[in-house]
């Protein structure tokens, strides 16, 4: 079955080009707010602006390529294949990916207060459960021992002080031993 033009990789490239152009315009506006330096041969905003322009030029090229491709696309063209979707209602995989991203965001938020070992335990256990590990012993052991082991290596051997949050007494205990 032939893929609808709006579902092809060429069309995805077209949409991405438009979004990138919007980003580049926004970045350019932001770059105009960079303060100037007195007597400078190259202003602080010059280099980023060259980069934005460079990005813009190749975005326009991608846009033109996509439009040309959409106008004269054959069925066996690689860009005529179905593009990946971000529609969570059509693709459970995308929904799961977004769920993992949300978990990671929560992980960052809780990292300092709850501590590495505990947040990592939950992150690890939830993802393992999500992707099909149903053995509770394996799930709990891996989720608990890997963060604990990593914390111990980083703390004792690499002298990296990792937030322990509610497990602070554990660090005191290790220090005491």
């Amino acid at each position: 079955m032939e893929t609808k033009k709006t579902q092809t990789k060429a069309f995805a490239n077209l949409i991405i080009s438009v979004l990138l152009l919007v980003f580049e315009v926004w970045a350019w506006i932001q770059s105009t707010a960079i303060k100037t330096a007195k007597n400078a041969t190259v202003q602080p905003a010059t280099f980023p602006q060259i980069m934005i322009l460079g990005m813009g030029v190749f975005t326009v090229i991608l846009l033109i390529q996509s439009v040309m491709k959409l106008l004269s696309m054959k069925a066996d063209d690689p860009l005529a294949q179905k593009a990946e979707t971000l529609n969570v209602f059509k693709d459970r995989g995308t929904l799961a990916a977004l769920f993992v991203i949300a978990l990671c965001a929560l992980y960052v938020y809780l990292f300092k207060d709850v501590g590495y070992v505990v947040v990592s335990f939950f992150l690890c256990a939830i993802i393992m459960w999500l992707i099909g590990l149903r053995n509770p012993v394996k799930l709990l052991l891996i989720s608990a021992l890997v963060p604990l082991g990593m914390w111990f290596i980083f703390y004792k051997f690499l002298t990296v002080n990792i937030p322990m949050g509610i497990l602070q007494p554990l660090r005191d205990l290790v220090d005491m031993i």
Binding site: V42, C124, I131
Partner: protein, 510 residues
């Protein structure tokens, strides 16, 4: 060259049990540190330098060089196995190393990486032994003009690593260069794109971005594939590792890549400010360019791993050249080594070749020993490291995620960096989904600051007249080579596209 002194220095180092033990310990520590995303050889050397205080010079230099060489190889382990380069110098190893692991050849990829690292290190040490004063003299002629053109030359390889769409590769590269400008501008300290966030004033840390783009993005994509039914959660590698060193056929096939990688690595490593992270991409692009089958690069071939791993270990010898000959460190690790020399009462520089020649030769020997120690540790570890991919994906992905996020934190001990890592994980996932290559961003992040700083410095020195660049022959040489690389890469890419189209047509007819 005083051959008698050279041989006696080598014997002195290779037959001293303390030096042997310290170098071996250093190599083991370096391999382990390098394999942890977020931990670099620089950190390893910095961490262990206090332990070397009480030792004699050569055992302590052996320990530090062991970490340096071990760390260079160690970075490839996580790049090959979990798509997270342990060190920036291993960033290009994943281009072919990870696909090899995905094809069930993780052990082979590791052994090729180890053997190439060893050979690259030996090439670097040999060039250092015989050519160091000469190479150092050329390297020290580098001013801002040459450094700018070196950065542009480095950027010219982007087309080679862009994959099918050059436009997408270049968009990625310019995006990466734009990311480098976040934070305080290096010349006038004006804030750029910081949006009032204090943590952004120092710019984006390279390691969290690297871990995010590759490791976190791979975990998100892996979960997506499993839930969508495109990958089995129970999938694991069943590779049987029968040998720890590559077979003769593989060595023969990769010998040319190893040799060129080692030479490129040594010469780039000798330039102060340029290191393994640049050399690996230059070597990869060069070897891909001269390959008879460039279309196979990036699909998981040992040549890709060999060309990058020999280059980054070649850098270790290269970086020692300006350190010993001129007292100028070639990279951050040699800067710490310079401190170690000074602490022992030795001032590296031109006079060292006159007053401390036996020490110079013993340092050459210690570097050779460090490479040998790395090979031994690597041989002992290949089977153990390869076990990682024999874990089921449903266990491996969450473990990679929590180790990676900790690696991102550990570099600056800053929670903000974990946020950066997750953010770039999402960017990497989206870019992979819509076929934007990630490697150009990485190369741009490495070369962007070098490019901007030297551009501004050159323009300031020449009162804004860029045309003055014609008075710098080495810079012009780099520019001509860069243009040549771009043209050659474009022709090569056309060849690759034509061959792939022919292969696709052939498979349809069948």
């Amino acid at each position: 060259m005083d051959w008698n002194l050279l041989f006696s220095s080598y014997a002195n180092v290779f037959l001293d049990p303390t030096t042997l033990l310290m170098t071996l310990l250093g190599a083991a520590g370096g391999v382990l540190l390098g394999a942890i995303p977020g931990m670099t050889a620089t950190m390893g050397v910095a961490l262990l330098i206090p332990f070397s205080f009480g030792m004699d010079l050569i055992p302590s230099i052996g320990l530090l060089l062991g970490i340096y060489c071990g760390g260079m190889y160690g970075g490839s382990i996580s790049a090959i196995l979990i798509h997270a380069p342990g060190t920036p110098s291993a960033a290009a190893t994943l281009l072919d190393g990870y696909p090899m692991a995905q094809k069930g050849e993780a052990g082979r990829a590791l052994s090729v990486a180890m053997f190439s690292s060893f050979c690259g290190g030996v090439i670097g040490a040999l060039i250092m032994t015989f050519l160091s004063p000469l190479v150092a003299r050329v390297a020290m002629k580098f001013t801002s003009a040459e450094m700018l053109m070196l950065a542009i030359f480095g950027l010219s390889v982007i087309i080679s690593i862009s994959g099918k769409s050059i436009a997408k590769g270049l968009i990625s590269a310019f995006f990466g260069m734009l990311l480098c400008t976040i934070g305080l501008d290096p010349t006038y300290s004006k804030q750029r794109f910081t949006f009032g966030v204090t943590s952004l004033k120092g710019g984006l840390s390279f390691i969290p971005v690297l871990i995010g783009l590759f490791a976190v993005a791979e975990v998100i994509a892996g979960v997506e594939r499993i839930i969508a039914g495109r990958e089995s959660a129970q999938a694991k590698s069943n590779e049987k590792i029968t040998r720890v060193l590559p077979d003769f056929q593989t060595i023969k096939m990769t010998a040319g890549n190893i040799l060129t990688g080692g030479i490129i690595g040594t010469f780039i490593g000798a330039i102060p400010g340029a290191g393994g992270d640049i050399a690996v991409f230059v070597s990869y692009a060069f070897n891909k360019g001269i390959s008879k089958h460039p279309e196979k690069w990036g699909t998981g071939i040992p040549n890709g791993v060999a060309s990058t791993e020999s280059a980054n270990n070649g850098c270790s010898g290269g970086a020692m050249i300006p350190l010993l000959s001129l007292g100028v460190p070639g990279d951050s690790v040699t800067a710490i080594l310079l401190g170690a020399f000074i602490m022992k009462g030795i001032q590296p520089g031109p006079m060292m070749y006159v007053s401390e020649l036996p020490t110079v030769y013993r340092v050459f020997a210690a570097l050779m020993l460090a490479n040998l120690a790395m090979l031994l540790v690597g041989c002992a570890g290949v089977r153990i490291f390869a076990k990682i991919v024999s874990l089921e994906k449903r266990m491996l992905y969450p473990i990679i995620l929590i180790v990676s996020l900790l690696g991102a934190f550990s570099i600056n001990k800053n929670v903000f960096d974990i946020g950066v890592c997750v953010f770039f994980g999402v960017i990497g996932w989206l870019m992979n989904k819509y076929e934007f290559p990630l490697s150009p961003i990485l190369l741009a992040l490495i070369l962007g600051p070098m490019c901007e700083q030297n551009f501004v410095r050159f323009m300031d020195l020449n009162h804004g007249n860029f045309g003055e660049i014609i008075h710098y022959p080495i810079a012009i040489g780099f520019f001509v080579v860069a243009v040549g690389v771009v043209i050659f890469s474009l022709i090569n890419q056309r060849k690759i596209n034509a061959r792939e189209a022919a292969n696709a047509a052939g498979s349809v007819q069948e």
